[in-house]
Symmetry: C2
Subunit: 166 residues, 2 copies
Amino acid sequence: MNVLEAIRNRRSIRKYLSKPVEREKLEAILEAGRWAPSASNKQPWHFVVVTKEEKRKALADAHPYGRFMAESPVVIVVLGDSERHPKYYLADPHNAVMNMLLAAYAHDLGTCWMGVRDTDIEPKFRDLLNIPKSLRVICCISIGYHEVERDSTRRQLDEIVRWESY
Amino acid sequence: MNVLEAIRNRRSIRKYLSKPVEREKLEAILEAGRWAPSASNKQPWHFVVVTKEEKRKALADAHPYGRFMAESPVVIVVLGDSERHPKYYLADPHNAVMNMLLAAYAHDLGTCWMGVRDTDIEPKFRDLLNIPKSLRVICCISIGYHEVERDSTRRQLDEIVRWESY
């Protein structure tokens, strides 16, 4: 899969088939997250992979915009590790997230990422997944096969790009 | 360029050739940023593209880890827009950043991203680029051709991945 094509065509998917995701594909996705760039290469992230239905349903119940996690065969919860990089542990994990979204798309899998940090969802996820105090729950990603394709729109370049100064 | 290959092999580059970056390549990179996913598709980002040497040198002088921006032919400064999404304007721009890093790599260009937000660099960048109060300076990306290839390392998957619970 071409990188520019993946970036252009990947969409957020919220309706999944029950078909399980192969372990090799999951590992390829995690591998893409692993290779993300980070400040001073500190890699201040952890990925909790949730496949068990009961736990996915509990996460879905805790997330008002993520009810479909009950149906997506996999959820990856992304954590930021303040002890590995106190300054960039909230920013760097997003690089890993984008890599994983693209890698999943390259493996014919749909994804949707949803914020968790700084909401009342975060303490619930923390309890459900037994997450230690030094880690923050940045976001979660649903992953699965899907049937319906979607398109989307974006603001035009001239709305978001300035040259030489704002 | 294959997406998984780009994710695996892209490195941070801090030594650039003076060869200018073609406008079409720059636009392809910005286009990759434009298509990043964001909460509620609010796209709370702006990209300021700096090519003029005098301004790049001023940015380089303001950033202790970004001296090489004086030599990289292009710097993209990435802003988060609190008015477009008050909750996710600090997170979503990172998706655009990762897309731009990968797109640049696919076009044979080296990049290095450096944090700016919440440092004493941010007010300096704000002044230099005339950035309004409602926008935050998230980070900056140097872009250019380069000769030396680098490799890097990452923690192993079993150090960063947990299954079902932390």
